[in-house]
Structure formats: structure tokens, C-alpha cells
Subunit: 237 residues, 2 copies
DNA sequence: CCAAAAGTGTTCATCGTACACCCATGT
DNA sequence: ACATGGGTGTACGATGAACACTTTTGG
């Protein structure tokens, strides 16, 4: 504690800055990727579209802040989230010097707390129809999409955007949405199933077709085992 | 300006934090990767090994700060540098709450200003013999190496670590150092030359062999042209 | 019975990988 | 002449890419 004090002394001559944390929250619904955006009802830039973000508190880590913000908006806790980038242009926020750390999250859109979202003036917007955003938030979204496209090829993160049980046509549709590209059904299924990470269930989804499509679920445990032995997830786009 | 004032008012209730910026500086010499580390002669952790870093100033962007720090230590300006990660654990710096943004740099080790390095108590240390580092700096180094390994496969950044003129054996030796792996000479050369990015010079390097090895240089211009047409650098390890 | 989506295999080209010998030259 | 590092080509297996028809069933 004495040491802590002395360090405070040492650092005392230096500036402190505002740090914010912004979240890019992806969902998948109706065959397309969506982002959770808020219509700000507070200054600055009141009434404009924005990512959800808040200022960092002295007593929480970056990860904790990211999960706090996500939780407050969606009621979700166990969610895939990953640090994206730190945005530090001097004038990025016209109001004051604020450095923003961005995180991106992939959530199962079915699970979020719609009431909370509503209370926060937030809305799901299709990625193809994102309105202009405040500050450098559009850049953040671009970077997040780029990152998602990179990661979804080599990590099994796509499943985070789907319910625990999903069909192969749904999964393919998700990948097609991520990469804005139609994929060959046979090659996609062969590729996906050949990794041995999906378990076929004895149950069919019958909303989208008369024949019905079998449900599958991702085997997290098996993925960990294989990874420990040098296996790499890889889906060819 | 009136607006700026009003925004300051709005943000006024929020905390400011210390933000530091740390640089992981890679060089390549004597067949191995090296890092530029400082032996701190200031508190806290005086006498211990550390990355070079400083506190962020209110009036510079993250990139500007990174280049400032690198310049002050090495005298180098036009250098490959890229943001790595932001480290935000509450207790990462035992002295005070400091968030650190890390950048990693690849420099041609021949070009640095040895006197400046000396004045800053900095030393080149082989990656294989990195001493324990202060705070979470060892984590930063690990992350930087991981990133370098990812990037050197798909971007022509290896050349940043070499002089403008280099031989294929030197280039191969660099890749072998990056990946801690011996590579097949024929496959490496075939792969590298097939991209058409290297220009063979009429000059030989004769320090390392009697026969001498031809110098090559990287054609940045051609890389840009090809990239614009959808080409991707790719070297198989 | 028919429309609509689910499911299934094979062929070909490309790319990655393994591998061994000759060349040039300084001593 | 020889030791040392530089330079070169080929064959095989694995992987990615293209491609069309059958199955199921609700209406």
C-alpha cells in the first residue's frame, strides 16, 4: 500500500484521459446479420445512431467493462466477445479527447432481453442497412465485420450466432450472410461434417420445408480435445 | 468551440485514467529475432527489464505516440508498426491503474541509432533469451510473436526486418527464425519467387559463402499493383 | 401429383510436400 | 582438390472446386 502510494507519486505528473468502451454486437436473424445499435437520447449527438458504449470505470478491467455494457443492454452474460481495436485519433470524439476500445460480440439473437433493448432505445439493424453512425463508429463496424470474416473461417464462432440446435441449411445460410456469398451445398456440408464437430440429433426442424431438416449441435468438448491435439477448425469459403 | 465546452460539461462526471503505450520492437540479426528491451533506471521497477513505453499525451493519437516513442529510442521514423492489443487488467501495473496499448514494430536492425539506444539503457536481446519482464510485458511479447507469425505468412512484412538488398538464404533464415522451424530450400525459393515480387540484382553477397548469393530486393510497387487486382501474398510454412 | 427444400458422390485441377544432386569458388 | 554454402526440378498425394439428381412430404 505504501508502494502503491509511492507509485501514484511517480505517475502524478502525467495526464489522464477519458477512455470509453464500445461494443459491436452481432446477431443473426431472418437469414441476415444484424447489429444492435442505439438511437441516442442523450448528448452529444442526441438522436443519432451509435454503437452502445460507456466510459471506463477506474475499478474494472476492459473485459469486465465490455461484459457489463453488454449485460446492461441485453441481459446476456455468457457470450462470445473479443477485443477489436483501440481508437485513438485526437479528434475522433468532437466533444473531448476520448480513446475508445472496441469489443465485438456474437450473440444468439433469440436470447436477448427485448425489454432491456427497448428501454435503452436500441434496435437490431440489418448489416446491409446500417445508418450513418456517430464519430468513428462506422469504422469500428467495418473492422468488426472484417475480423468476423477472418475468424469465422478458422474458429467455430459461427455457432455463437445460432441457437444450440440448428440445421445445416441454417448454418450454411449464416456463413452465406457473413461472407455475402452463396456457397455450394455439397461442399459446405462435406467440409463442415468432415471435422466431426457436429452431432446429428434425431429431431427435425419443419418450419422451412416439408421434408424437414435434421437438427445438429456443436460439440464444444470434442473441439477442445481435437484442438489440444493440434487440430485446427477450417471452413473453406 | 461552444459545442466543445458543452461536451466537456457532459463528460465531466466521468473518470479519467492513465494510458500508457508500450512498443514491442523486433529486429533480425545473426540469424535470430531480437527484441529491443530497456533496463529501467527509473521507478517503479527500477533495474528490471521492460518494454519501452510512455504515458499517452492528451494531444497525440495512439499512432503518433507509438511513432514518437520508437523515434526517441531508435531515431527511426518510417517503420512498420501496428497496434497489437490493449491491456486493461486492473492490477496489471502494481503502482496505479494504467491501461496500456501495445504496438509492435519491425525494424531493420542496421538502421537504428546505437547511441540513442545506449542513452536509453536499451539492449537488443535474442527472443530465445528474453529475461523476465515487468508487469504484463511478457504477455505482450508473446502476443506480438503470435501476431508476427500470423502476419508474416500473408503479408510481405518480413522484408521490414531485412536491409533493402538481401539474399534468398538470408530471407529463408529470417522465416526460419520467425517460425522456429527449418524450411526446405527448394520449396521456400519456389514459393517466394513464384509471387513475382522479388527482383534479382546483378550483385552478389560474398560474406557467407565462397560462391556468393545473389541479392534481391522487394518490389513494393508491384505488390501494390497485384494487391489491387485481388492478389494475396502467401508463403507456406 | 407437384412444388419446394433436404440430402447425397464423383471428377478434375491445383497446390503442398518430400526429396538429391550439381555448381562456384576461396583456401 | 576439397569443403562450404548456393542453386535447381520432379513426382505423388491431398485438398479445393465444380457439378445434377433423388428424396420427402404438406398442400
Amino acid at each position: 500500500m505504501a508502494q502503491k502510494e509511492s507509485h501514484h507519486e511517480i505517475y502524478k505528473g502525467y495526464n489522464k484521459l477519458y477512455i470509453a468502451l464500445d461494443c459491436i454486437i452481432f446477431g443473426f436473424d431472418e437469414g441476415e446479420l444484424k447489429l444492435l445499435l442505439i438511437k441516442r437520447n442523450f448528448e452529444p449527438a442526441k438522436g443519432q445512431w451509435s454503437l452502445i458504449g460507456e466510459f471506463m470505470d477506474e475499478n474494472e478491467s476492459l473485459h469486465e467493462a465490455a461484459y457489463r455494457i453488454l449485460y446492461n443492454l441485453t441481459g446476456l452474460k455468457d457470450v462470445y466477445m473479443s477485443q477489436l481495436y483501440s481508437h485513438g485519433d485526437v479528434d475522433r470524439d468532437p466533444g473531448a479527447r476520448v480513446i475508445s476500445v472496441s469489443y465485438y460480440a456474437l450473440i444468439n439473437i433469440q436470447n436477448h432481453d427485448a425489454q432491456l433493448v427497448k428501454d435503452n432505445f436500441a434496435h437490431w439493424r440489418p448489416l446491409s442497412k446500417i445508418p450513418p453512425l456517430v464519430f468513428d463508429h462506422s469504422t469500428m463496424v467495418e473492422m468488426a465485420l472484417k475480423r468476423l470474416r477472418k475468424e469465422a473461417k478458422v474458429k467455430p464462432i459461427g455457432f455463437e450466432l445460432l441457437p444450440p440446435k440448428f440445421t445445416l441449411p441454417q448454418l450454411q445460410s449464416l456463413y452465406e450472410a457473413i461472407y455475402s456469398k452463396t456457397l455450394d451445398k455439397r461442399n459446405f456440408r462435406k467440409n463442415m461434417l468432415s471435422m466431426g464437430l457436429l452431432e446429428k440429433l434425431d429431431e427435425k426442424e419443419k418450419e422451412n420445408s416439408k421434408k424437414g431438416a435434421f437438427y445438429y449441435q456443436f460439440n464444444e468438448q470434442k473441439y477442445k480435445e481435437l484442438t489440444a491435439r493440434g487440430f485446427y477448425f477450417n471452413i473453406v469459403i
